[in-house]
Subunit: 316 residues, 2 copies
C-alpha cells in the first residue's frame, strides 16, 4: 500500500546526512539462492538496480566455479553491465581471480576474510592468518593498479561453531586488512546474531584502535530480525556505508532460515523516514525485487517489497 | 539454529535495565487472523505464553461479536485462564463491554481510541471526540473499581487515508486519554509506517507536553520491517513498555501485507543482546509460536521463530 507522504521524514541531528548503500543482491544474494539465474536475467537485474538509483552494485564473484556455481558466468556477465554509470565491485578470492577481474576492466574488487578460525577453515580451508597471507598479494597488486579494494570480514559477531566472537579478535583482523591496503571494510554478521549493543561495542573498539569510521561498512543478515535495528545503531555511531540486498535476497548456507541479507527496501524506507538522502526510487526498486522474485520462484522476504508490490495484494 | 552464548549480551548505559513486554498475540494477533481458533486452543496458547515467562498477556476483547467474530468467545475463554499468575488485560469498547469484563473478574481493561478522524470513523463510526466521550464513563467506572486502564491510540504515525499524522494531533488525544484517567497509553503504529526519527519526535513532544514516559508503551507493526528499529529508538528515549505479539501474529485489515505486529521473539532476542532482563524463556516462547502456527496453518512471520524452530529446519 503506497500512501503519499509516508514515511514522514524527520531528520535527526545525531545521524549522517548521507548514506551509501552497497547493493549486494546480485552477488551475495544470488550466490546463496538455490535457483540458477540466467546470465541475461542477472544483467537485467543489475541494470534495473542502477536505474532505481543504486550507485554501488556488487556484480559477481571471480571465485572458482566449483565453489560458487551460481556465479560461474562472471566472465560473460561483467561485460554486459560494465558500461553502466555505477560502481561495480566484484569479489576476488586470490590472484587468479584478480587477473580475471582486471582483464575485464573491473575497477573495484573485494576480498573476503574471516574473523574466526572455524569459518576460515570451512569457507577457505585455511587458518585466518593463512587467508590473510593469501590476500596480501591480491590487495597489493590491486592497489598498484589503483583499483579500490574492499575487505569483507565474516563472522564479526557470532559464529555457528564458536558462539560469540571476542571483539579484540575482530579488531585484530580488521587492522590487518587495513594495514594490508584495503580501502574499506565490511563488517559482516554472517549468521545474523548481532544486536545493537554488540554493534556499538565493536565500532567503539575499532575507533579506539584508530580505525576511521569512514573506512567501515556494516553488513547485517536478518536471520533473527535484527538487521535494521543494528543498522540504526551503526548509523548512530557514524557509519555511512551500509550493505543491503534488493528484496532481501540471499541467506547463509550455515543457517537454515529463509531470511537473508538486510533488504535494501526496508533500509531505504528507514533512511527516507530519517530524512537521509539516498537518491533511490523506492517504487522502481520494489518492482525490480518483485520481478526477480518471479525468477527465483519465491516471494521476496522483504517486508517493504511485500507491502508495496502488487503481487502481495493479489495473494491475500 | 541455537548456538550457546548467542546473542552476546552487551548492556548499554543509555537503555532501561528492565522492559515489560505487553503480549498482544492472543488478542491483537488472533483478532486479525483469518483462521478461527477454538477456545481451548486460545486458552492453551495463553497458558503456554505465561509458562514461557510473559507476565502481561492481553487475553481477549469484549467487543460485540458482530465486529470481532474471532474473539466472540471472550466469556468462555476468560474464566479458563483467569487463575494464571499473570496480568490479563482485556479490551472493552464501551460500558456494556466493561460490565461483561468486570462480571468475570477482569482487573485490567483497555479502551481503543484513534489519533485520526478517518480511522475513528472506520473503526468506531464516530469522530475522535465522540469516541473519547464514549470512553469517559468506561474509564471513570473502571477507576472507581480500582481497575487498571490502558488506552490504545491507533494511527499515531500514519493513516492509510490521511497520510502522515501531525504530532500535535497525537499529543492532544494522548493528553485527553490521560486526563480521563487512563493509567497507561499504547502508541500504535497501526499500519507500520513509522521510522525511528518519527518515534523520537513523538516521544519528545509528549515529554514536552508533560506526559511521563513511564505512562507510555509503544506498539509497532512490522509492515515495512521497521518495528524493531523503532522499538530501539523508543527504548533510547526511556520507554520501558513494549507491545509485541508471539510469533508476529496479526496484521492490519487495512494493509494487505502478511506481516503483523512486532514479533515477541525478535524483541526478546534484541533485549537479551542488550542485556535487558525480561525473564522470558525464548525456547519455550518459540515452541509456543510454532505450535500456534500449526493451528493457523501458516508459518510464523517471526524471523527468530523461523530460525530457531525445528519446523524450519525440516522445511529447507
Amino acid at each position: 500500500m503506497t500512501v503519499p507522504g509516508l514515511p514522514m521524514a524527520v531528520p535527526s541531528r545525531d545521524l549522517p546526512t548521507r548514506v551509501r548503500i552497497h547493493e549486494v543482491g546480485a552477488r551475495d544474494g544470488l550466490q546463496n539462492e538455490k535457483a540458477t539465474v540466467p546470465t541475461e536475467v542477472k544483467a537485467e537485474f543489475i541494470r534495473r538496480l542502477a536505474d532505481a538509483g543504486l550507485t554501488t552494485i556488487e556484480a559477481t564473484s571471480f571465485v572458482h566455479p566449483k565453489w560458487v556455481p551460481q556465479l560461474a558466468d562472471a566472465e560473460a556477465l561483467f561485460p554486459m553491465v560494465g558500461d553502466l554509470p555505477v560502481s561495480l565491485p566484484v569479489l576476488v578470492p586470490n590472484e587468479r581471480g584478480l587477473d580475471r577481474a582486471l582483464a575485464l576492466g573491473a575497477r573495484r574488487v573485494a576480498v573476503f576474510a574471516s574473523a574466526t578460525e572455524s569459518f576460515a577453515k570451512a569457507n577457505l580451508n585455511r587458518t585466518v592468518d593463512e587467508a590473510l597471507a593469501m590476500f596480501e598479494p591480491v590487495v597489493s597488486r590491486a592497489k598498484s593498479e589503483d583499483v579500490h579494494v574492499r575487505g569483507y570480514l565474516s563472522m564479526c559477531f557470532g559464529d555457528p561453531w564458536e558462539g560469540a566472537v571476542p571483539i579484540p579478535q575482530v579488531v585484530k583482523v580488521c587492522t590487518s586488512l587495513l594495514d594490508m591496503g584495503c580501502d574499506e571494510l565490511s563488517l559482516g554478521d554472517t549468521i545474523g546474531v548481532a544486536t545493537p549493543g554488540h554493534v556499538v561495542a565493536l565500532l567503539a573498539a575499532l575507533d579506539e584502535a584508530g580505525v576511521p569510521v569512514s573506512a567501515l561498512g556494516v553488513h547485517f543478515h536478518d536471520t533473527y530480525g535484527q538487521a535494521l535495528a543494528n543498522t540504526l545503531a551503526a548509523l548512530q555511531q557514524g557509519v555511512t556505508t551500509v550493505d543491503a540486498s534488493a528484496g532481501g535476497l540471499g541467506g547463509c548456507p550455515y543457517a537454515k532460515s529463509a531470511t537473508g541479507n538486510l533488504a535494501t527496501e526496508d533500509l531505504v524506507w528507514m533512511l527516507r523516514g530519517l530524512g537521509i538522502d539516498t537518491g533511490i526510487d523506492l517504487g522502481r526498486l520494489v518492482a525490480t525485487s518483485a520481478w526477480m522474485a518471479t525468477h527465483l520462484g519465491r516471494p521476496s522476504p522483504s517486508r517493504t517489497v511485500r507491502a508495496l508490490s502488487h503481487e502481495d495484494t493479489e495473494e491475500h
